[in-house]
């Protein structure tokens, strides 16, 4: 059975380094799953394209259609790759606003690979200090290896670039292991599981 992986790309500029990292992680995860005999369907959600819709949904309480489709896609995923630029030591406001729209149960037991980019290595702990607590709160199953890429990781220094590729591979392997070990995600239809009123009333009458 094909497993679905959704990449949430929080990069704020076109051809952003976050998107670049996210693409690498998506490709490496596809490869890692294939190595385990599992086909993967990887889709990327670019938050930049939904920036207005995300703000609108925050104000009105409902999401425009394209944004709702993205939200539904994340909720239905067997695994998620969450990538954000680091601003002021943390994920961006847009990234958090999107996560806020997903609801409390969005990541219950879902394997999530955490990734971030920044100008300097000085921000590297944002993954552990900001991203991981957020996803722990949401009861996600976070992959042990988070992938952080600073400017130097993309640069000409062969060692640094090699190190990033290695981290990407290791994290993708860990994500693939978690995805394969779990049952395919089943999205619970709230309409199908609504409580019977007789039960609700019975609880009070007892």
């Amino acid at each position: 059975m094909t497993r679905t992986i959704t990449v949430v790309n929080g990069g704020l500029s076109e051809t952003s380094s976050t998107r670049r990292l996210a693409d690498q992680l998506g490709a490496a995860t596809t490869e890692a799953l294939r190595a385990r005999g599992v086909a993967a369907e990887v889709t990327t959600v670019d938050l930049r394209e939904r920036a207005h819709a995300i703000t609108d949904a925050t104000l009105t309480g409902f999401a425009a259609q394209a944004l709702q489709e993205d939200i539904d896609r994340v909720l239905a995923s067997d695994g998620v790759i969450a990538a954000t630029p680091v601003y002021s030591g943390s994920y961006t406001g847009l990234f958090k606003s999107f996560v806020d729209l997903l609801g409390q149960a969005a990541f219950d037991g879902t394997p999530v690979l955490l990734a971030a980019t920044a100008g300097t290595a000085r921000h590297s702990l944002a993954l552990e200090h900001a991203m991981r607590p957020l996803f722990s709160y949401l009861r996600a199953l976070t992959v042990p290896t988070g992938v952080f890429a600073a400017s130097e990781d993309w640069g000409g220094d062969g060692d640094a670039a090699g190190a990033l590729a290695g981290r990407v591979r290791r994290a993708a392997d860990e994500l693939a292991d978690l995805v394969v070990a779990r049952e395919p995600k089943r999205v619970v239809d709230e309409f199908a599981s609504a409580p019977s009123f007789s039960d609700l009333l019975g609880d009070l009458r007892r």
Partner: protein, 379 residues
């Protein structure tokens, strides 16, 4: 088809003038809107209960009785009344009293309402909201149908041999709608009692509204009240109308852009596309509103939000005049077209009384009671 006006009674500065109406002006304005609603041919006038700033409608039965004294035909409803923080005993009595004063021109739309801070003002806790809605309504339902009630629950003092006063007019309790945007439990509650289900609709994409109403219809049938297309459904809507749609857009945009509920968010155009908001010509309003049937099927009540976002009273009254002349007749005709004969109208005092008299006639050999009507709720 019942066509109505519903209001939340917000006090919002007019963004084009900066002027904010006083509470007194707004309360008197609601009276004018209620009277105008009858004058131009609406069937229902409903106001939503609020106790927090910037809203004024805290005393719905007082408002309704005052307008009822100055009108003859229009039905008073609520949009919504709080079944959570109001005492169900007081509600049973006040709305029955209103029913007598208005000669049966009253029904209720119940909801949980309120934000967290409001509950403690009435000695309640929002975390109990759902259970309060269930227990309180169950008691209210009983108080209107059983003359002498012995009752014990979790959220209020027990009742022993209690009779709520006055008894409902002609022994017929006001029809009840349950309003809910997201809570399936409330749609389920409406279905369980065979009551009406109202979806506010005005801030919600039609895919969601369709699922909520479908769910209610399906559960209505499940609880044995009849086939799903006989369930009683109401929808909200909001319109701003001018003969020329460009004028409507131009006039309404400044109000939309800074409105408390959606201002500074989506564009007017986006919001119109995503929700039932229709700003335009009479024909656009007519077509859009009639198209709601494609979402929920043939339904019984369409309510319009007209007085909000700081629109001045004069504009609201003009809108109502215009709707009465150019929109309501076409809507009535349109909604009647193709509507199957077995789809019922929204219950009214007259229709409920007639139904009860028919039931009484068939069972008159065994009972002569005229005050206690039988509960239609399955045990």
């Amino acid at each position: 088809m019942q066509l109505g006006v519903f209001s939340v009674g917000d006090i919002t500065p007019d963004p084009t003038t900066g002027r904010t109406p006083t509470q007194h002006e707004r309360i008197k304005g609601l009276v004018e809107i209620g009277k105008k609603a009858e004058e131009v041919g609406f069937d229902v006038f409903a106001v939503g209960e609020h106790h927090d700033h910037p809203f004024v409608p805290s005393a719905l039965t007082t408002l309704s009785a005052y307008v009822a004294a100055q009108t003859e035909r229009i039905i008073f409803s609520t949009s919504i009344a709080h079944i959570t923080t109001n005492d169900p005993v007081l509600m049973a009595e006040q709305y029955a009293f209103l029913q007598h004063l208005s000669d049966g021109r009253v029904d209720l739309m119940l909801g949980r309402g309120n934000t967290g801070p409001v509950y403690p003002w009435f000695g309640k806790d929002i975390r109990d909201g759902l259970h309060l809605a269930i227990e309180n309504y169950d008691l209210l339902h009983q108080l209107w149908r059983t003359d002498v009630v012995d009752w014990q629950g979790k959220y209020r003092t027990p009742l022993q041999g209690f009779t709520s006063t006055p008894r409902p007019l002609d022994g017929v309790p006001p029809f009840v709608w349950h309003g809910s945007i997201r809570s399936l439990e409330i749609a389920e509650q409406a279905a369980f009692y065979g009551n009406g289900f109202f979806h506010n609709h005005i801030f919600w994409p039609s895919t969601h509204v369709r699922r909520m109403v479908d769910f209610y219809r399906q559960r209505f049938e499940h609880y044995g009240h009849g086939p799903r297309d006989q369930a009683i459904v109401g929808l909200g809507g909001q319109v701003y109308v001018r003969p020329n749609s460009q004028d409507a857009i131009r006039e309404f945009r400044p109000y939309f852009d800074v409105a408390p509920v959606y201002g500074h968010g989506p564009s007017l155009e986006d919001f119109m596309e995503q929700t039932p908001l229709t700003v335009g010509s009479p024909q656009q309003v007519i077509e859009r509103t009639l198209a709601h049937r494609e979402i929920v099927g043939d339904y019984q009540r369409q309510m319009f939000l007209l007085d909000h976002a700081g629109l001045p009273l004069t504009t609201v009254l003009e809108q109502m005049d215009f709707l009465g002349e150019h929109v309501l007749p076409a809507l009535r005709e349109g909604f009647a077209e193709g509507r199957p004969a077995h789809v019922p109208d929204a219950p009214t005092h007259a229709s409920l009384l007639a139904a009860r008299q028919q039931t009484d006639a068939t069972s008159s050999a065994t009972s002569s009671s005229t005050t206690a009507s039988e509960s239609e709720v399955p045990a």
